[in-house]
Symmetry: C2
Subunit: 419 residues, 2 copies
């Protein structure tokens, strides 16, 4: 079989498996998850060996050290993967929940119930643990999954998927519920994106080129895990000490992630006292500042001039753009014009200003007096996460188990016909 | 401006209007809806005159009489449109509803609230009242809408949209919240489908060619209102009198709609008594029957042989395909293989068989002992309908006000930072 045939065959096998998986009860799915955790533990040596191949290739390709570090598995990280699987087994199963039900005047009983989506494609470029995370969340919710990971972790991904499939087989579930495309050919992305008869939804996590390749061809819904150009706005009525803590946390605690701060907006009435202190602290922490004239005047020549492009840039690094604004409205306008609708925060003591900001900023997550870093399935209490959707439909923000389900209507009657 | 520029300009104007509209409260939106109803009433003569042009063109193009009838407006139908607008004004507003809220151990208060989607594109081929239905449901939910109707109703659509915009203006809302593409050039569909920066979702109602044109280019979520290949399965434990009433109703009451019956499946144990009686009644009602060998043997030569293509065909006419099956499982397999996952029913007195069918048939709406004709926003009690989604995400089945909203997370803190 050529690549097209192989992947189309995956589609049919996954569809068949999804029908079976949808019929399993929570207990059967949890037993499979425990067997998958056991298999990851039992096959640790094989997985680490495969991972070593990826590391050697990455070093050969002179990938950045931070990327190689993210790629690397060791006994501790593998134990983390195993633990995550057991944690998902322990989470409540959203499938079967009755979202709402009502009776019509003609006696029809209508129930809106939560059901699996069917077959989910996951196209990603990231650490090997995403292979496991995505697969187990799909299994828990009764979905089959077709995984297409990045080339840099291909050996690790194959070894992990093999272990998970072994777990399914051991628990007597159809192993085709988890399929991994065993090639790094980007053509696979185009093929998957066009298989709307066998793939119901694609979750796409990766850089712009990957997401563009999916979007250009996709015929089914695509949930993008894309960039976060996140803002903190320090209002004239902010507690400046709290504001500084939030800004430092949002920028510095883990700058390489999508919910980290990229642009600081400060009300002009507090710009001088706030930026003098906070600017110095950011510089002390090796943050490169890029500001408008006003910011540069207050903080000094250590601040580079910000260009128009800076306002739309996700640095994912110790770089921060900063701007002084006239009002909360001007801050909202800036965020709507340049932001990516991911996570944005206001720091203020004024409840009315805060509520205006919360309601008018059209982002997945809007904060009042808290760091943007909390946009995360774990921090939300979801217990797991397949990604953070930057789309508005069907999932927005942290995406966990419920977001891997849809609904259908069950209608029970006694012979009703329409007049 | 050329077509591309015109439609892109629509996108920017709609985006701006959507930001304003999202901030209006229910009262302001309802006032605008009442003004829109008034405008439709006051401009009746202009709208009917425009409609007469469409009718003349349709007659010139020798469109089928049924289609011309659907296209035609008169005083009574226009009064119906006016009444529908006032009815939507009276419905509860889903925007602002708190879907769920919880507190995290660190004190963060997380609220998941219902918000407008933003800008919705509606691409359709149908009666002129869809122009009004789509526009008012979007206004009610705080969304701006870009409408692109079919060429056969272009004059009516322009006149109706003008009246609705007049209503918005009268109520001092931004009239760009309702924009109608004033051309029948199909290129407009391609342009809209690529405007993912200014259109958040497309609702697509129409034939296969139209939907294919949208899907081939779309970069944003598309909700399709596509075909319904609906089934009724008569189980061996069915009340055969009830089964016949349901089959006749589902096939004959209004055969030209998506929730009408297209394929009848009958358990072999009851095939003979059921098909003898029900088959005769269907023939008496001028229904053309296309059956497998078994059906033809029972009902006789009046039944044409069904081809493989019949099982996947949406006739939208007085034609019915019929098949005898070995079991409820075989019926489910047939539906999963050939159906369009729209509306499917089982008639049986056995609760266990019914529940199996309800849970295993992967359709938007699954019925036990009721006609498939109830898949409809009005019949569900939604009070309105923008279409019936044949997609699994973000809306499935009848689509009304709630389905024109999404959600965001509002998070209120007291200075929380991530450790």
């Amino acid at each position: 079989m050529n690549l097209q045939e192989t992947i189309e065959d995956f589609g049919q096998r996954a569809r068949k498996a999804s029908r079976e998986l949808a019929a399993y009860n929570t207990e059967a799915k949890n037993r499979a998850l425990e067997a998958m955790a056991d298999a990851v533990r039992d096959r640790a040596a094989t997985i680490l060996e495969a991972n070593a191949k990826d590391i050697i290739a990455a070093e050969g390709n002179a990938l950045p050290r931070a990327m190689i570090d993210r790629l690397r598995l060791d006994a501790k990280r593998l134990a983390g993967i195993e633990r995550d699987i057991r944690n998902v087994a322990a989470l409540p199963d959203p499938v079967g929940a009755i979202i709402s039900q009502w009776e019509r005047p003609n006696g029809l009983q209508i129930s809106k119930v939560r059901v699996p989506i069917g077959v989910i494609g996951v196209i990603y470029e990231s650490r090997p643990n995403v292979t496991s995370d995505a697969a187990i969340l799909c299994t828990k919710t009764g979905n089959a999954v077709i995984l297409r990971g990045g080339s840099e972790s291909i050996h690790s991904n194959i070894a992990i998927a093999d272990a998970l499939r072994h777990g399914l087989r051991y628990a007597r579930l159809r192993e085709d519920a988890i399929l991994l495309v065993p090639t790094t050919d980007r053509e696979a992305v185009r093929i998957m994106a066009q298989m709307d008869r066998s793939i119901d939804m694609i979750v796409s996590r990766g850089g712009q080129a990957l997401i563009e390749a999916v979007l250009a061809h996709a015929r089914m819904p695509v949930i993008k895990h894309y960039q976060g150009v996140c803002h903190v706005y320090v209002d004239r009525e902010a507690d400046l000490g709290m504001a500084q803590e939030i800004v430092i946390n949002a920028k510095c605690q883990r700058p390489g992630v999508c919910n980290a701060l990229e642009t600081l907006l400060v009300h002009r009435d507090v710009a001088e006292p706030f930026l003098q202190k906070c600017g110095a602290e950011l510089l002390r922490r090796d943050v490169e500042l890029r500001g408008d004239q006003h910011v540069r005047k207050i903080v000094g020549d250590a601040v580079k001039p910000a260009s128009e492009a800076d306002w739309t840039t996700e640095y994912l690094d110790l770089i921060l753009s900063a701007r002084v604004v006239e009002s909360a409205d001007a801050a909202i306008d800036h965020i709507e014009k340049y932001g990516s609708h991911h996570s944005d925060a206001i720091v203020t003591g004024n409840k009315a200003t805060a509520e205006q900001f919360l309601h008018r900023v059209d982002s997945a997550t809007v904060y009042w007096n808290a760091s943007t870093r909390f946009t995360d399935g774990g921090e939300f209490g979801f217990g797991a996460e397949i990604g953070i959707s930057t789309d508005k439909l069907h999932a927005r923000g942290p995406m966990a188990l419920e977001e891997l389900t849809t609904y259908k209507y069950l209608i029970r009657g006694t012979g009703q016909i329409r007049r």
